[in-house]
């Protein structure tokens, strides 16, 4: 288990602050150990892809650090379960194409070679796929959801995605001051599903 200590601690700490609304929605509240869809190898390939789409740099964490892979992994085991088989096939073909075109599985390649693989997929030139472009676009789209969505779903860890785009976060009431362009509102860094999410 990744971050088991942290997860348990934040759940316990968070539990003291869970509002009544979150408790009544407990049927939908995710537990400490959400279901995952990917094997360690598949997860590694996915993370290597996301890490090239949005690498960490001097401006802050990249997609992987933001939990985008965790978001996709959980989603494929849950809301996107119908997509799981196709998605796993896409990951496997990415590795096959990386091997035939660059000589090793995707995660093993240098950054330049990874980019060559992704660029070929994005342009629809990668061999071995029925729709390389479709798969690339899907990974890219889910990556964005994972970076910028509510952290309840496993991504946007520590609200890094919202910090990156200066998203103010969800306020149940927004004042005229909050809507000014000349002054930044105080950001809200909380999941609408309860304070235990996002850390």
């Amino acid at each position: 288990m990744r971050d088991q200590t942290l997860t348990r601690r934040t759940v316990i700490v968070g539990a003291a602050f869970v509002p009544l609304a979150a408790l009544t929605a407990s049927g939908q509240t995710q537990n400490a150990a959400p279901k995952l869809a990917l094997s360690a190898t598949q997860r590694r390939t996915l993370e290597a892809m996301l890490d090239r789409l949005v690498p960490k740099d001097e401006l802050g964490p990249g997609a992987v650090e933001m939990g985008a892979a965790e978001y996709i992994d959980r989603s494929l085991a849950d809301a996107l379960a119908t997509e799981k088989v196709a998605f796993l096939a896409g990951l496997s073909r990415t590795d096959q194409f990386a091997t035939t075109s660059q000589g090793a599985g995707f995660a093993e390649l240098s950054s330049d070679k990874k980019d060559a693989v992704l660029t070929a997929m994005e342009a629809g030139r990668a061999e071995g796929f029925t729709d390389a472009q479709g798969f690339f676009n899907r990974v890219r789209r889910l990556n964005l959801e994972g970076m910028f969505g509510d952290p309840y779903y496993g991504g946007n860890k520590n609200f890094a995605g919202w910090d990156l785009i200066r998203y103010p976060g969800a306020k149940l009431a927004v004042s005229p001051q909050d809507q000014r362009m000349s002054a930044a509102p105080t950001p809200v860094r909380a999941s609408v599903w309860g304070p235990q999410h996002g850390h």
């Binding site: 997509e83 196709a86 798969f135 149940l172 009431a173 005229p176 609408v192």
Partner: protein, 383 residues
């Protein structure tokens, strides 16, 4: 075998934006109404400030029924029918699409009622495509104005009149048809951003104005004013400040005790006698089939469902489906869901809400069709 129910004056199929409005005058007139709605009541706690929930997974706008019944399409009869690439938000709930809509509440322009004759008058007959079936409506803006007025006041619309009995006011929409009185509520709050846009538009020679919105700009009939949190797009309002029929006309109609709502009721057929007169509807609810006799049946279940029900409702008098003896049902298709939108990227940096601020919808009608999970899944399935 269907269970026969007690006859009613009116059976309404679909209790959403249309059916949910129609029940109010009928109930007030003392008619007994059975409203058959495939969805259920939703609560304010069903509406989350969560874009994955609302806009990506569409938890508010799509339920099992919608996912199971995605319309198919083809561009010519020789093609195999394919599932639509996007799922229009055909939500099932008491209040229907008025729960998640943008709450833009426009009246038609006088011109819209005479689209054919006005087009010919202005551009000549050659401006119409050959074989067009475009017709004028059999009523005019003036005919409908009292009813626009009635519904704006009943539901609650915020806005600023631009044409008050012929008197033009540049703070409102100067292109609108004459209205009898001002909107029941002033426009929603301006912001520095809307001020900036309005001033730029005026400099460019446009006539910007606040769009009419079925959203409370102030406390309205005991319901809260809008809190401007901004997550009601493809979701509902967490404080009932958006005036869906579920919080306005339907509760008002229920007060008369003349309206009975049947949730989870899937209407399967409109029944007609041998002479072709409609006698009621058959529906399935929780696995049990019922026949609801009714003197009048109102269809209010959006284009697809209305057409499908009519075509399925074959009888001796209507062998090709109810009211389809001329083969017109399902033709001249109009859906409003493929909206037009302009997204502008602005060169200035805003200090707040970067993503929100820079995406500016200039569209006033319809809505965007965004690719959603199922559609993307089918493209991934081709990998």
């Amino acid at each position: 075998m269907a269970t026969n129910l007690k006859p009613v004056d009116v059976a309404v199929v679909g209790l959403g934006a249309a059916g949910g409005v129609a029940v109010l005058p009928l109930a007030r007139a003392g008619m007994k109404i059975a409203a058959l709605e495939a969805g259920s009541w939703m609560k304010t706690t069903d509406f989350k400030a969560d874009e994955i929930y609302n806009n990506v997974r569409r938890r508010v706008t799509t339920g099992t029924k919608v996912w199971d019944e995605i319309p198919t399409f083809r561009t010519d009869p020789g093609q195999p029918a394919r599932l639509a690439a996007t799922v229009p938000p055909m939500m099932n709930a008491v209040g229907g699409t008025s729960i998640h809509f943008y709450a833009n509440s426009w009246r038609w322009q006088p011109w819209d009622f005479q689209a054919r004759s006005e087009t010919i008058k202005r551009y000549g007959a050659s401006a119409l495509p050959k074989g067009t079936t475009l017709e004028d409506w059999p009523l005019t803006y003036a005919d409908l104005e009292p009813y626009y007025d009635l519904i704006e006041y009943e539901i609650g619309v915020s806005g600023k009149a631009g044409n008050l009995q012929g008197k033009i006011d540049a703070r409102g929409n100067i292109f609108e048809g004459p209205r009898k009185r001002e909107y029941p509520m002033p426009p929603l709050r301006d912001t520095e951003f809307t001020d900036l846009m309005q001033s730029a538009a005026r400099k460019a020679g446009f006539h910007p104005h606040r769009s009419p919105a079925a959203i409370n700009s102030q406390t309205n009939k005991g319901r809260s004013a809008c809190a401007y949190h901004g997550y009601c797009d493809t979701g509902g309002c967490h404080i009932n400040a958006k005036n869906s029929t579920a919080v306005t006309t339907i509760p008002e109609a229920l007060k008369t005790k003349n309206l009975t709502i049947y949730e989870r009721a899937h209407v399967t057929r409109i029944v007609a006698d041998d002479a072709g007169k409609v006698t009621g509807v058959l529906y399935v609810r929780d696995g049990q089939e019922y026949f609801q006799p009714a003197a009048t049946v109102l269809l209010g279940s959006y284009t697809y469902e209305n057409v499908r029900l009519l075509l399925l409702s074959k009888s001796k008098a209507f062998p090709k489906g109810l009211s389809n003896n001329h083969g017109q049902v399902g033709k001249h298709y109009i859906g409003h869901w493929a909206g037009r939108e302009v997204i502008g990227l602005f060169p200035f940096a805003s200090t707040s809400g970067g993503a929100q601020m820079r995406r500016v919808w200039l569209s006033t009608i319809g809505r965007t069709t965004v690719s959603i999970t199922r559609a993307s899944a089918s493209s991934a399935a081709r990998v």
